[in-house]
Amino acid sequence: MPRLLLFIPLLLFIILGGFLWKGLSIDPRELPSALLDKPFPEFTLATLQEPERIVSKQDFIGQPVLVNVWATWCPSCRQEHRQLLAIAQSGKIPVIGLNYKDERDLAIEWLQQLGNPYQFNIYDAEGMLGLDLGVYGAPETYLLDAQGIIRHRHVGVLTAEVWQELQLIIKGWDSVKN
């Protein structure tokens, strides 16, 4: 019996090693959204380009949408802009912008320079909607279903691969519907 006990440290190490190996393929800084499968938070905020126009959740519920959190101070947002324009042009899904803790004038100028893929932009100057959403930095993109439930969050640049992933998820809903 004591002989077998001596193998315990080795066994424990093998288990530890297994976890460490798995750990190598996980990104510890990637946070899944705490609001997954929960409704998009309520809000009443002005839009970016028309300060008198107040919008709320009702303005985009009814169909699947992408909500893209962006700002002019975020260099990666510039990188993903082209992809957003492509998505908007394809017409597959409307893109709503959430201008996060930004300056109105700079943001409007940016859209004029680079193009505007957004149906409209929520102007979240204080970042309070971002806080309710669990945003911790830009860019972030949320995929909402027709009922306004958050189904997926992507943190970081929206690349072509990510768009493929999102399309697959949306296609999955369509097949369920049919």
């Binding site: 946070l31 705490a34 803790k101 970042g127 971002g130 806080l131 669990g134 911790y136 930095g137």
Partner: protein
């Protein structure tokens, strides 16, 4: 080459968060509230940073969260309500003191359990050694005279070497 530029870029970006201590002024009339603020800021993790609590971090999100805590404290919310608010939006990740639930039983009770097991093991080991020693003593008693002398000589030689 690109990888290296990216690495430098990332280092630069990250280092900007490291370099200044987050010293902002949050006014509280009530010293008790100020204490609670410090405690909460110490126990909540900045969702974006490299393992810093929101008290020490200079990141935008950390500042926003500190402001939010201040607002909630002034609005007479309890500590539990504030913490729940944060967890609702950012998940358990944001708690430096993990909640006690089945997933964390091993974490919270493990050390105590292992301490007790270790001490029990010590007791068992010593008991076994004493038993084994007594047994060899008994065996020694049953050696014949010549065997006993041979054993005695051997032991003496060994002690001389050490």
């Amino acid at each position: 080459m690109l990888k290296i530029k990216v690495l430098i870029g990332i280092l630069l970006l990250q280092s900007s968060f490291l370099l200044s201590a987050a010293i902002d002024v949050y006014q509280f009339d009530d010293p008790e509230k100020e204490q609670r603020f410090q405690k909460l800021a110490f126990e909540l993790r900045c969702p974006k940073c490299q393992n810093q609590n929101i008290a020490d971090s200079n990141a935008e999100i950390a500042k926003d969260l500190r402001t939010k805590i201040q607002q909630m404290l002034i609005a007479e919310k309890s500590d539990t309500e504030i913490v729940d608010y944060m967890v609702e939006r950012y998940g358990d990740f944001v708690l430096y003191e993990p909640r006690v639930k089945p997933q964390t039983y091993l974490l919270w009770y493990g050390p105590g359990l292992f301490l007790v097991l270790g001490l029990i093991a010590v007791v068992l080991i010593i008991r076994n050694r004493n038993k084994a020693y007594d047994k060899t003593n008994e065996q020694k008693a049953s050696l014949s005279d010549s065997e006993a002398k041979a054993l005695h000589d051997l032991l003496e030689m060994k002690q001389g070497k050490n």
